[in-house]
């Protein structure tokens, strides 16, 4: 029951804060949409100029890639930014005083944020499809599990950066690097053997096959799905291990309340 009250409290806080920072939430979505428009219209102009149909499949890939990238960025940056902000506002130590344990407060926060992020990303997805005129297959039963598996790696990165933020406080420069690294992971074709082990890469490829090629989850090669799951879980485990190590260091050095 205690955990249920903790979950309710976290959900209510997140929704309240989202409403209070509505401008920030909306502007984040608009800015990602504008980046997408630049990429899409740029590619379209290039295709028209070269009178080629070589980029035909790429438009769908771009939509799927942006959709996954948005969720990944919102997920990882939401977690690490939150830890930085909580330390700055002085509420981080109060969260650590929860009898449920900080890990549960953090997990519930991630769950609630993930649902909110999915809702925002779906709005963004429809905006992309409307802009491009390419309507993709939205098989929720197939996409939802693949999406979770795919963003696990992003949350792993979020935990790792969050942990580093506990110790080093100012790690904003890292954010940009990871953001671009994620783009790299999505752009590199996942059929290249080593690319399968990059975060997001394999999952993004599988989501593409569902959304652009109309495949169902059970029609996908089981080995590919399991690889995506194992890679996501591995990155999450590494992220959690980094977070745990940093948390211990922060407690030993008395850094939790610093900012």
């Amino acid at each position: 029951m205690q955990l249920a009250h903790t979950l309710t409290a976290v959900a209510r806080r997140n929704i309240t804060m989202m409403k209070r920072y509505l401008f920030n939430t909306v502007s984040a979505l608009i800015s990602v949409y504008m980046v997408f428009c630049l990429a899409f219209f740029g590619m379209k102009a290039f295709a028209a100029a070269s009178a080629s149909r070589a980029l035909d499949g790429t438009f769908e890939g771009t939509i799927v890639g942006f959709f996954v990238w948005t969720l990944a960025i919102f997920g990882y940056s939401g977690l690490s930014w939150e830890l930085i902000n909580e330390a700055q506002t002085g509420t981080l130590e109060q969260l650590y005083l929860s009898p449920a344990g900080f890990k549960w407060v953090c997990t519930f926060n991630l769950m609630v944020d993930f649902l909110v992020n999915v809702a925002a990303a779906v709005v963004f997805l429809f905006a992309m499809m409307a802009t491009t005129g390419r309507w993709l297959n939205l098989d929720v039963a197939s996409i939802a599990p693949l999406l979770i598996v795919t963003v696990l790696g992003a949350y792993g990165a979020g935990f790792a950066l969050g942990g580093l933020a506990l110790v080093f406080k100012r790690i904003q420069a890292f954010f940009q690097i990871v953001q671009f690294a994620f783009i790299g992971c999505l752009v590199i074709p996942w059929r290249i053997p080593w690319a399968r082990f990059l975060p997001l890469s394999m999952g993004n490829g599988l989501i593409y096959r569902v959304m652009a090629e109309g495949k169902r989850l059970w029609e996908l090669p089981a080995a590919d799905v399991l690889t995506a799951l194992a890679v996501g879980a591995a990155y999450l485990a590494v992220g959690l291990a980094v977070f745990s190590t940093c948390e211990r260091a922060a407690k030993a050095r008395g850094l939790l309340g610093h900012y």
Binding site: L3, R12, R13, T89, T91, E93, L95, Y96, K251
Partner: protein
């Protein structure tokens, strides 16, 4: 309020050493021990850097101690963490414990929620606290729009609303004006008595500690240098601090003669009168004082016991401790 029969808080040989880049050692808390009984309101006093906040954070598990043991309501904190936190609440650094973009009420509901309290069940108590702290008409106002005093009060309410038997208040009146500080400490004092909670209050403000607490633990340089009831400390200093008024200017050699025996001597002399303030190291030293005055040919016009306050006691204890430390360093 539910209480363990024995001891509410037990700190045993607690030590925290910070290492500066692996070389220089800073002993923030240097093997301190103390116990707090259920329902007791204890003040933790000390100059800046004395180790008060580090001690509180070590007790709460926010800082990992180098060694030592902490038990809350008889249960070892390290082996019952974080579940043991259900018995504890804390205000750390005042208003920095709140979400400024959320209202007073939303903050209360959130922090009690993550403490595992169902909000509907405790709604009346939250309302009672909001009323007691004069926040009723501000309960739906975002914290950022409140004055510093109101923010501090909200932080205290959020801690008390968790209904824990043990409450830590680290500098709850920091940055408050005299009136708000007085108001806050009066409410704290009343609530501590009414609800019989165990409170550990750390503050630089002596008036707050003197007014709210029954017992004080004085820390300096990471060590406990005094641990006594405020009443006893006052009595101890009261019986030994004297003010004398002598007729005419100070007789020759009197000041030097007194200084050799009495610490903290102050002599102010005018052509018409001399005022002497001193403290007797031992109660029987009053006879020696009288002998010295008679031998110097002084005429006593007035003699009175000084009324000590906690600030004077604190300064005296800290001064003494520093002197001892200096002496111990001289080979």
């Amino acid at each position: 309020m539910e209480h363990h029969d024995g001891i509410a808080l037990e700190v045993d040989q607690l030590k925290k050493v910070f290492r500066d880049r692996g070389t220089r050692e800073v002993r923030a808390v240097d093997g301190i021990s103390f116990r707090v009984a259920p329902g007791e309101v204890v003040g933790l006093l000390g100059p800046n850097g004395a180790g008060k906040t580090t001690t509180i954070k070590c007790i709460l598990g926010l800082i990992r101690p180098t060694s030592g043991r902490v038990a809350i309501l008889g249960r070892d904190v390290a082996s019952h963490y974080p579940g043991i936190l259900s018995q504890v609440s804390a205000v750390l650094e005042g208003s920095r414990n709140l979400y400024w973009r959320m209202s007073v009420w939303e903050n209360i509901e959130f922090f009690t929620g993550i403490h595992g309290l169902p909000r509907r069940q405790h709604r009346r108590y939250f309302e009672h606290l909001v009323e007691r702290f004069g926040l009723a008409d501000k309960r739906d106002v975002e914290v950022r729009k409140l004055s510093q005093g109101m923010k501090q009060k909200t932080a205290v309410v959020c801690a008390l609303a968790k209904r824990t038997p043990l409450v830590f208040l680290d500098e709850p009146t920091l940055g408050l004006d005299v009136e708000t500080s007085y108001e806050l400490r009066e409410t704290l004092k009343d609530l501590a008595e009414e609800e019989n909670r165990t409170v550990v209050l750390s503050s630089h403000n002596m008036d707050v500690v003197q007014d709210v607490c029954k017992r004080v633990i004085i820390m300096t340089a990471g060590r406990v240098v005094a641990d006594d009831s405020i009443e006893h400390l006052m009595g101890l200093f009261k019986t030994r601090a004297y003010r004398l008024v002598l007729r005419g200017p100070a007789p020759e050699g009197l000041e030097a003669g007194l200084a050799a025996h009495f610490p903290g001597l102050e002599v102010q002399s005018t052509p018409h009168m001399t005022q002497v303030r001193l403290r007797l190291p031992e109660p029987n030293d009053i006879y020696m004082l009288m002998d010295l005055l008679r031998d110097a040919g002084a005429t006593i016009e007035e003699i009175s016991q000084e009324e000590p306050d906690l600030e004077k006691i604190f300064l005296e204890i800290v001064r003494k401790e520093r002197e001892n430390q200096c002496n111990s360093r001289i080979p």
